[in-house]
């Protein structure tokens, strides 16, 4: 049977890894290619690069980071951030990325999901959803532009629509949990996992090994993603996996 996956996420700006706490404060945590190779050796099952460069030069740098990383690591990796066309996808896939994450562009133009899936296969297309609980909606709302813009769209509906259009996976970030280290957002993750039949990667809030156990069991996630706790060595991937194995969850 498939194992549950542990995925470190590297936020990359102009070729350097940074991590925002609640999407605002940035700290520099190193060279993306080196860090990717390190996570590969430490047992990461996949990697995600999120390109937060704002400039054309920054995005061009990302293609080079992808090319170098593909030559260094032996696990699959996803690249997301600022991808808004099939040509953008092609450039990154050619450089060696295995999957492409799309977020704001998919909300603006859902056909990008189906175009990408038809061209490269569903397994290449990861739809990233940033969601925040909206009491007036009585549900989670999708945010775009790196969590700055509320879209008015309900997260569960959007997840189902993304699957229908051909997404191969959902990368679900809870904006309420992100940066808190109090654990993943279990109600949100579970609700989305139960709404779709494609794999869901839970993101936001991981602080300790048991948080992964909870999101895989109670949250029904297929993979758990974290950034700062791995970057700042608060916990290792190996510790997370040992804890999961001890609790009967199959990991690599």
């Amino acid at each position: 049977m498939l194992t549950k996956r542990i995925i470190p996420c590297l936020d990359v700006k102009d070729g350097r890894v940074v991590k925002g706490v609640n999407f605002v404060n940035l700290r520099d945590a190193g060279d993306p290619v080196e860090l990717a190779a390190l996570y590969d050796r430490e047992g990461a099952d996949e990697l995600v690069f999120l390109d937060i460069s704002a400039s054309v030069e920054g995005r061009a740098t990302m293609v080079e980071v992808v090319r170098q990383t593909a030559g260094e690591i032996t696990i699959p990796f996803t690249v997301g951030g600022g991808i808004s066309s099939v040509d953008d996808m092609k450039r990154l896939l050619r450089a060696g990325a295995d999957k492409i994450g799309i977020n704001t562009a998919a909300v603006k133009n859902p056909q990008l999901i189906s175009d990408g899936a038809r061209r490269f296969g569903s397994q290449c297309i990861v739809v990233a959803i940033d969601a925040k609980y909206n009491p007036e909606m009585g549900e989670w709302e999708v945010y775009t532009h790196g969590g700055r813009t509320p879209s008015g769209i309900k997260a569960l509906e959007w997840a189902r629509e993304a699957e229908r259009l051909g997404a191969g996976e959902i990368l679900l970030t809870s904006m309420d949990a992100d940066g808190t280290k109090d654990g993943f957002d279990i109600p949100l993750t579970r609700a989305v996992s139960e709404s779709v039949s494609i794999p869901v990667i839970a993101s936001g809030g991981a602080g300790k090994a048991d948080d992964f156990y909870k999101v895989f069991t109670e949250g029904k996630a297929d993979a758990g993603l974290a950034a700062s706790i791995f970057h700042y060595k608060e916990i290792s991937i190996d510790e997370v996996k040992r804890d999961l194995r001890a609790k009967g969850v199959e990991v690599r």
């Binding site: 996956r5 696990i75 699959p76 060696g96 296969g121």
Partner: protein, 200 residues
């Protein structure tokens, strides 16, 4: 020199880099002469079976690949490249394969999510040079169809995904891996190394 056969199906960069990291020269090529002269050949592939065979035919590579296999030099099909080694496939209609291994390619039974994507554990079935000295472990799969080798002896390793799925097949000098050894961590690299050692 290892020829990575380029017929327009998928990204060959990762396979080529993995071969180089293991200390072998890799050449991504669609040139018949270069393929024939290689010490080993790898047939990668991502996409649909019918398109892949059409591309191989359009590139005039069907006979060169078959000739390569009958030369006795090691040939490895990866993912869709493994499926192409078989006689035929049911993916979107019936398509003829390279017929280097007897058997058919059929859709996964659908008890699990399709595609079968992620890390799954190998079970070894019989001794083979590509498995020598290695321990069973997890490798990375992405596929929706599976090969059914006609001859049980051609099935070297399988994985369990709500059904038995052929993971490594092989006969004489022809091998196939359904998963991506270049994306499968240390075990993937060891399996690739075992194959490459056969080219020496």
């Amino acid at each position: 020199m290892i020829a990575i056969i380029d017929y327009g199906m998928g990204n060959l960069h990762s396979v080529s880099k993995a071969v180089e990291r293991l200390g072998y020269e890799a050449v991504v090529t669609s040139d018949k002469g270069t393929i024939a002269a290689a010490d080993g050949a790898i047939l990668p592939g991502v996409g649909a079976f019918g398109d892949a065979m059409d591309n191989l035919r359009a590139a005039g590579l069907v006979e060169p690949v078959k000739d390569y296999a009958s030369s006795g030099k090691p040939l490895l099909g990866i993912c869709l490249g493994m499926q192409l080694l078989f006689s035929e496939s049911e993916e979107h209609g019936l398509h003829q394969g390279l017929d280097l291994l007897p058997g058919r390619v059929v859709r996964l039974n659908g008890q699990g999510k399709i595609p079968h994507m992620g890390w799954n554990r190998l079970t070894f079935h019989q001794p083979s040079p590509v498995l020598e000295g290695l321990e069973e472990g997890h490798v990375y799969f992405v596929h929706s169809f599976k090969a059914l080798p006609e001859e049980p002896r051609d099935l070297l390793a399988s994985t369990d995904y709500h059904e038995q799925v052929a993971a490594i097949v092989g006969r004489d000098n022809v091998y196939g891996m359904q998963f991506h050894p270049e994306k499968s961590g240390a075990l993937g690299m060891q399996l690739l190394r075992r194959f490459l050692e056969l080219t020496k």
